[in-house]
């Protein structure tokens, strides 16, 4: 039995938010692979965020690390947010023609109505920073990993991915896979 089936691919540009809706209830787990850049002028120091089933309630928990170059920027436990973080940083306007930031987001047991919605997200990569960045280094490396929990036992049928702030995705692809 194959592990991975492509459910949907989205290619987007000029939007802040993307939603995979009507996710079929025929798999065990889900995986979202994102390659993104932004239209930010200057450095994009924001984050990629996620909400499940369109919920904006304060039911999202996130244990995370976030590093850039040799600097560990964040080690946080965030309880009761209205979304969770999948990754950070990434190519902005001056280098979005040739660079993308990858995110690998695994969601386990997405249909289970006894257990809460849980996942792991990884965001590792490298690229070229805009000049004048506070984070020196060119190219640079970044790494993010997070454990995610939505305090909900509702079957997952939609996933919304968005950038913090008002910037938009540019030349971005998002693949949603069903697993198992």
């Amino acid at each position: 039995m194959p592990l991975v089936s492509l459910i949907e691919k989205k290619s987007v540009s000029g939007v802040n938010s993307v939603t995979f809706s009507s996710i079929p209830a025929t798999y065990r787990d889900l995986r979202v692979i994102i390659y993104y850049a932004t239209n930010t002028v200057g450095n994009f120091n924001g984050t990629v965020r996620c909400q499940f089933n369109g919920s904006t309630s304060n039911i999202y928990n996130n244990e995370l690390w976030n590093a850039e170059n040799a600097n560990l920027l964040t080690q946080a436990s965030i309880i009761g947010s209205n979304n969770f973080m999948l990754g950070s940083g990434g190519p902005s306007a001056s280098n979005n023609s040739s660079n993308r930031n990858p995110i690998d987001f695994y969601i386990s047991e997405y249909r289970n109505t006894t257990l809460r919605r849980n996942g792991l997200s990884n965001n590792w990569g490298g690229g070229v920073l805009d000049s004048g960045s506070a984070s020196s280094g060119n190219p640079y490396n970044y790494a993010y990993t997070g454990a995610l929990e939505q305090e909900s036992q509702t079957a997952l049928s939609s996933i919304t991915l968005f950038l913090s702030g008002t910037d938009n995705f540019i030349g971005t692809t998002m693949h949603l896979y069903g697993i198992g």
Partner: protein, 168 residues
Amino acid sequence: VTAQWDLITRTEVTGSASVVTFSSIGSYQAYRVIATTLDSSGSDYLAMRLNGNTSNMYSVGYFANSTGGAVVANGFTTYNSVGINAGTNAPGTANSNALNVIDIGFANSTTLAKPAIALGGWARNMLRASGVIYNSSSATTSISLAVGLPFSTLTVNTVVTLYGRNIA
């Protein structure tokens, strides 16, 4: 080159607690285990053993942090009966609907020691990333998972899925 992960088997622990052992695992070049689990004590780790081996053959190094605290690194330490220290502190029964999600992958070489990576965490407690060497070149014939020290049971609301992959 193409590669496909096959779903080998899945186990759900819904009744009495037990150690999960997969013994009909075929012969793949790589295996992947996805586990979602809780632990009745809420204070221990998910561990994995290959071929039931309890000898001093599992070397583990990791990064981990807890509840937003500093990330700590631990160099390779060899364990004898713990197996692969794959996960992190899991939710206890007070959080019986919460989950610790663990993703383990390892190469099933029959000529080299087996390297593995593991990432696990629960969003309200701990996050851990481990690198592991299982110092055996024997073919893997069984994979067992249990919680913590010593190698005890997995409690209810646990789902463990095993995948295998060959390189085409």
